[in-house]
């Protein structure tokens, strides 16, 4: 296997390119050296992120002392090399290659999405032939091939550069997109003509140098030169990929990668790329809503703010108020939200945590994403990066496939990973013990002698030079046990690091901004007694001990582990105000709903899982009555007579946050203070009971699950899974579960209907249930530990058929 982006060593060599002399690292590809020399060599098959293959031959250049023209994309510079990139011979060869490519290429540029940013069109203009000889009747190939939920392929436009198939192989490591047939009959395709399903499919539309692969979401919608660009950062998950939002007449047309080598390496996932059309759906909230009996009716912003003030004021004075949210807001807004709680409502009852995540940052040993690249071993537990942090996962895939990084996955069920991994099954709750045992084994130097799987893992750790742990900050005991393990390893000169995958896009920003009950901005201990956690607030609300809740950018009804408690709390609390973009399960229970601006409609900063704060710009204006969360918070604060406490301005808020952070500055090596956590009782794991058909429920994440934007987006609708539960074949046989049938799962908080699946990844006695699906909220079956039990029976009714998954031939 060739090394990743090999060659370029430190030794410098002297080369002359088109007359300009320069010194470049030995082994640099001629095409890259040419860039340094300020000339550009045209390329089609070459892509800087992928191994050179030298297929398209457009990059032929003349190298002195070499009789034949050489391809710039695969030839490496050597000392004294003299290169000509635009000699007569080169021009002729380029012209010839273009002529060949255009022979059967349809001349439909006027209606092609790629028109204006097509390399074939561009190079033809710069280097190409006239049309004189291109009278050859075109050979025809399939046009408009439906490649699945996201992509349409025009085989006639395809120039067989294979960037797309190589992306799917080398970058995504999925290898579902392939070349079928050979010679000029070659086509790009999939197995049996089935859909090309990948979380990364959209990237192929960008790297396709022609208009062969186009996004269904963008087809025929705009011309590149009509688009306005805004630099943004994706907030769908905690990786924080950089991207660009392209709009036209104030409406988002598409998103596009904006390479940041240290974060996204130039890729974005399809959820990030395609989740924007919900903004233009009728379900998007555009007007404030006020409860009138069972219904929510539109009202004015002022009326909404006035009612909030009227209800929150007395609740605050009585100390019976709570604030939930922050993980989906910008850093500035999270800062505003906690300021609103602490200064306006006078309470420390503020918490961004509405999933199982307890900590968004490592207490120490914080790592960078690029630390994965050369890690010898990645230890993952709790987090499931293929579904929760796809672009991080791409980095991991590449490290495993190209750099011999070992991936060790510890979890309660076998994950589906595209690269080789060692899987260690653990029962819920046991992971902290495992970490402690590993720390002891390493500490006592018993890694060579011991046997059993603990010793085996310890041995691997002891042999690994650099170890990166990836988890989701969910279990405080295992997190501190991990710290001990890493400390031990660091003591033996291993390089170690931790990445905590956030449950919400800006979990880390919210934590740092002080959206936790015991810590203010910059992790400074807050004044006064620690407030209530989300769990405590919900419990109090359910028990009638809170009079009001203010929730911004959070949907605990669907995502909080103990769903029954969450729903009871939200139903029982006398006053509930929610700021949201769409009518979520939580918003639907509110007394006041403020429509909020999306990330594309405001500006600010977000902090990714590494703790890196990144600015995002505003791409489009929000609808008239739609404000940013910061503006909503400021509006309510003003209505309560506290205009001075919360600014609506991102700049002012950021300044406040930064001030607070520098005041809280700790010295290097200090442990980061920890957010207060609930005392969680260990999971109630019960064995399967064949007669009672009782199963342990483990929720499983999915990239497209959730009740917010993604649930209302037509672009991502075809990718959304239907709720399902997977049981082990052994259990299926015992209790008579047939794949595809409808099951009812009944637990402590109610029941849900799902599709039955059978697979070996589910341990015996366990049902893996798709988490966070509004149609079938798994949290109805769970308790605060994040696990639960349920009995399985056949569903009584057949639900309406969702046929979106199907792909037309």
């Amino acid at each position: 296997m060739s090394a990743d982006r090999p060659a370029a060593s430190r030794r410098m060599v002297n080369v002359v390119i088109d007359g300009s002399a320069l010194s470049v690292p030995e082994g640099t590809l001629v095409v890259e050296a040419a860039k340094l020399a300020g000339t550009s060599v045209p390329v089609y098959c070459y892509h800087p992120k992928m191994d050179p293959v030298g297929l398209c031959r457009i990059c032929l250049v003349e190298i002195e002392k070499t009789p034949k023209l050489q391809i710039a994309c695969a030839t490496r510079v050597t000392e004294g090399m003299v290169v000509h990139t635009s000699s007569e011979r080169v021009a002729q060869a380029r012209n010839g290659v273009l002529e060949f490519l255009l022979l059967n290429h349809p001349l439909d540029c006027p209606i092609c999405d790629k028109g204006g940013e097509c390399d074939l069109q561009d190079f033809t203009m710069s280097y190409g032939p006239g049309l004189s000889r291109l009278t050859e009747p075109k050979l025809h190939k399939p046009k408009r091939v439906d490649l699945g939920p996201t992509i349409v392929l025009d085989e006639e436009r395809c120039i067989l550069c294979r960037r797309c198939t190589r992306f799917d192989d080398e970058i995504a490591q999925e290898r579902n997109l392939v070349v079928i047939d050979r010679g000029h009959r070659s086509l790009i395709g999939t197995s049996d003509g089935g859909p090309y399903r990948s979380y990364f499919s959209g990237n192929t539309t960008e790297i396709c140098p022609v208009g062969a692969l186009t996004s269904k979401a963008y087809r025929f919608r705009a011309r590149p030169w009509d688009l306005t660009h805004a630099d943004s950062v994706c907030a769908q998950c905690s990786v924080g990929c950089n991207f660009r939002i392209d709009s036209r007449f104030g409406r988002i047309m598409r998103t596009f990668t904006r390479e940041n080598l240290e974060i996204d390496d130039g890729w974005i996932c399809d959820r990030g790329r395609y989740t924007f059309n919900y903004l233009y759906e009728p379900t998007r909230l555009r007007r404030p809503l006020m409860r009138r009996g069972d219904d929510l009716a539109e009202c004015s912003l002022d009326d909404a703010a006035a009612l909030c003030a009227e209800k929150l004021g007395p609740a605050a004075r009585a100390g019976r108020v709570g604030v939930i949210g922050g993980g989906r807001l910008s850093d500035e807004e999270a800062f505003a939200l906690q300021a609103f709680a602490r200064q306006v409502l006078g309470t420390n009852n503020i918490d961004y945590r509405v999933h199982l995540q307890k900590f968004a940052s490592p207490a120490r040993f914080g790592a960078r994403l690029i630390d994965i690249d050369d890690a010898s071993l990645v230890l993952m537990f709790g987090a499931y990066t293929p579904e929760q942090a796809p672009i991080l996962d791409l980095r991991l895939r590449r490290a495993v496939a190209r750099h011999h990084t070992q991936l060790m996955y510890i979890g309660p069920y076998r994950p589906h990973l595209p690269v080789e991994a060692q899987y260690v099954e653990y029962t819920p709750g046991a992971i902290a013990d495992l970490m402690m045992q590993l720390a002891d084994t390493v500490h006592q130097g018993r890694t060579e002698s011991g046997d059993g799987f603990v010793a085996d893992i310890a041995r691997r750790l002891a042999q690994a030079e650099k170890i990166i742990a990836v988890h989701n900050g969910r279990d405080p005991a295992s997190v501190s046990a991990l710290d001990r393990l890493l400390e031990t390893l660091a003591g033996y000169n291993h390089r170690v690091g931790v990445l905590v995958v956030g449950s919400q896009g800006n979990a880390r920003g919210a934590e740092a901004a002080g959206c936790v009950p015991n810590l203010g901005p910059g992790y400074a201990p807050c004044s006064g007694e620690a407030g209530m956690t989300t769990g405590e607030m919900l419990k109090a609300a359910a028990d009638g001990a809170l009079d009001a809740l203010f929730i911004a950018g959070a949907n605990p009804a669907l995502t909080f582990a103990d769903g029954a408690l969450a729903r009871r709390a939200l139903e029982n609390v006398p006053f509930l105000a929610v700021a949201e973009q769409v009518l979520t399960e939580t918003a639907a229970l509110a007394d006041i709903v403020f429509p909020t601006a999306s990330f594309a409609e405001k500006r600010g900063h977000v902090t990714n899982l590494e703790g890196r704060r990144q600015a995002f710009g505003q791409a489009v204006e929000p609808p008239v009555d739609v404000l940013s969360d910061a503006e909503i918070i400021a509006l309510v604060a003003r209505a309560m007579g506290h205009a001075e406490s919360v600014s609506p301005q991102p700049a002012a808020l950021l300044a406040g946050l930064v001030r607070a952070e520098s005041a809280a500055e700790r010295s290097v090596g200090d442990l980061l203070p920890r957010a207060k956590v609930d005392a969680v009782q260990p999971a109630a794991v019960e064995k399967v009971d064949a007669t009672h058909r009782t199963f342990t429920i483990i929720p499983v994440p999915h990239l497209y699950s959730g009740g917010g934007a993604v649930a209302h987006d037509p672009g991502t609708a075809p990718m959304r899974p239907r709720p399902y539960a997977i049981v082990n074949p052994e259990d299926a046989a015992r209790v008579g579960v047939v794949p595809g049938e409808r099951l009812t799962l009944s637990g402590s908080g109610g029941s849900i209907d799902v599709e039955a699946r059978v697979g070996p990844q589910a341990p015996v006695g366990v049902a893996l249930v798709l988490a966070d699906m509004p149609e079938a909220p798994a949290n109805k079956l769970l308790d605060a530990s994040g696990f639960g039990t349920a009995t399985i029976s056949k569903a009584a009714s057949v639900p309406e058929q969702r046929s979106l998954e199907r792909v037309s031939a």
Binding site: G54, L55, R57, L69, G96, V97, F100, L160, D181, G183
Partner: protein, 430 residues
Amino acid sequence: MATFEPVLTKGVGQLDLTDVAAYRKNGGFVALEKALKDMTPESIIAEVTASNLRGRGGAGFPTGKKWGFLPKDGRPRYLVCNCDEAEPGTFKDHMLLEQTPLQLIEGLILSAYAINAAHIVVYIRGEFLEGYRIFMRALSAAREAGYVGDNLLGSGYSADILVHRGAGAYICGEETAMLESIEGKRGEPRLKPPFPANAGLFGMPTVVNNVETLCCIPHILTRGAAWFASIGPPKSPGPKIISVSGQVQKPGNYEIPMGLPAGELLQDYAGGLLPGRTLKAIQPGGGSSAAIFAEDLHTGIDYDSLAAKQTMLGSGGFVVMDDTTCMVRASMTLVRFFEYESCGQCTPCREGGQWVHRILRRLEAGEGSDADLLVLNTINDTLTGTNLCPLGDSIMPFLLSVLRRFPQEFAEHVTLAGCPFDPARRMVAA
């Protein structure tokens, strides 16, 4: 008729050389016994180098030199035998495989011993089902007789032979495509460097040799490098099997001394042209080679003499065309071959081949134009020398040579709006 004592084909047609005893009686396994007892791998390589044996697969690369390229880094090495013979007009390996498989086996073991290869893979063209069966029988007989397997003849050297059947693709004859194919992939040539000597089969150092090349090895070792080097021109010596086909009296495989004039091969071995015909063109080195003509019959059949005529010995497929043959049709047939067999990776080969084929088909059908002729006359500059592997460079040589020699014949296809060799069409045009 000139007499040349056959070396590689000695006994073929007279003895059952698939039988170990018969093969031994014919002089077989003497080299193997001698080498395993008395010769070091280094001395074998030295002998082969001194013999000036050049690869019979087409490129004519000196075999000893190729073996010498292997890095001495202790990684396991592979010897791969190229028995994918699919070059138009070539059928010598097919014959060697079926008629004298033990000679190939002996050559394989000797070569593997010389380069210290841990594994031998024979890649047999998928269409050679009969040849594969014969070879497998011969292989088990040789194994039984102790010529293949562990601790050969008590030398401590072990070698076994693995056979991989092709699945239908000419390009798999190209050595790196063949390696891909053995690895279970699409048979697409690799980007070089790295070369097989450094990173070949499964990334290990690998030598790929043609069947006929390997069959020469036992003879070089029994009779000596000097004997071999003395046959034919010094830089291009040895016995050579030429596959003669086309419009001659006695088509077939003929073993000749290198350097034999083309005319002698045609006349003395192949029995000359059919009665009443005159020679029009000969393709001397398989479908990839440019044609020679009547005035070139004195040219020696060897690497250098043919190269001097802007053509090549190639695989030794000698296809004779007389005056009844339409050069447009002959070219079309060959270009269609390359178009069909192109793997499709490189733009010029994939698109250019298809374009030239369509033009020739049009000309032959009487639908061609002057513009088509112009393209044929100029396309070589961008089609040849611009591809990753030599297949693309094989599309044009024959066509160009006959186009230059018989321009009027091509032009006539346009003016007559049909093929002058097709009586029916000529009447239509007239």
